[in-house]
Point group: C2
DNA sequence: ACCATAATGATACCTAGTCTCGTTTAATAT
DNA sequence: ATATTAAACGAGACTAGGTATCATTATGGT
């Protein structure tokens, strides 16, 4: 029987950085642990207030590393505020609930094909896109229903 | 023969505000004239440097009014910087060239239908979305071509 | 001309970063 | 274990995009 050690998410994040040659420092441990404990998305500022012992620049540096590595993704809320959240690796989008703020990942989205067609019609060479989708999640529908 | 007076764009912008009950003030005239003279997109900061006589808050307030009225739209560049530009009224998207920074409006985009289907599959009630498309415009393709 | 109030600019404050620079720390070679 | 050295750090200044407050001014309507 193989003893499977459950690697906490924080260690996974740290390992992700380690694989890219980044050192395992105590500020980075603090940041990854705080992120791993989070539910849903959060702002850099929230993280900062939660970790007063970690320098501001270090928090932003860590966030950047994690975004670049694909472990975190950036989420643009409808009010314009930028949040971060744990990411499914690879390109994807979010269904953001404007009631409760929850976020569902949109994985199998064939928007690429559509954009490729539209771009071609404009003689535009597509290289990337940014998409956020706003609305109400299933749990929040009853609240907004009138009839 | 009807004498058609060419209303400058700046006046149109001011009229748009006027129709909503906003007063025609000299700071607003300065802002709308500066915007009307712009080619393509611009940042709030650029506008501010161009109008040192107008208070910072007033510039941001004016931008907000014009965005809310639909006369201006916000454009998120790939680098994360937010720009403004004169808008075709109504919802639309942009094809943003990462080489020259130009922006083409994407008017007849059927992404709504696609999003509606995808949202329904996630039991999500769609209310809005934000989309920016990045790539190279036709004029910039030769520069990037290798063969 | 007068008046109510909309709008303004100054200022302070906030969020989100970036950059520099002198100090600390982690990985690694001995 | 210790020395080396580059990576990483925190402090602090700076940029950029905003918002909130508030005393003063200007506008539009009578
Ligand atoms: Mn995501
Ligand atoms: Mn537009
Ligand atoms: Zn919800
Ligand atoms: Zn171009």
């Amino acid at each position: 029987m193989v003893r499977t050690r459950v690697i906490p998410l924080a260690e996974q994040l740290l390992d992700t950085l380690g694989e890219q040659g980044y050192r395992s420092t105590s500020p980075r441990k603090a940041v990854t642990q705080a992120i791993a404990a989070k539910q849903g998305h959060f702002t850099a500022e929230q993280l900062r207030q939660q970790l007063p012992g970690v320098g501001r620049a270090t928090i932003y540096r860590s966030l950047k590393l994690l975004v670049d590595s694909g472990a975190l993704c950036r989420v643009l809320l409808e009010d314009g505020n930028l949040h971060y959240q744990l990411s499914h690796q690879g390109h994807h989008h979010h269904l953001l609930c404007v009631e409760c703020g929850s976020s569902q990942d949109l994985l199998g989205c064939d928007i690429e094909d559509l954009l490729r067609q539209v771009s071609a019609a404009h003689r535009f060479q597509l290289s990337g896109h940014w998409l956020e989708v706003y609305g109400r999640c299933y749990d929040c529908l009853p609240k907004a229903a009138t009839g």
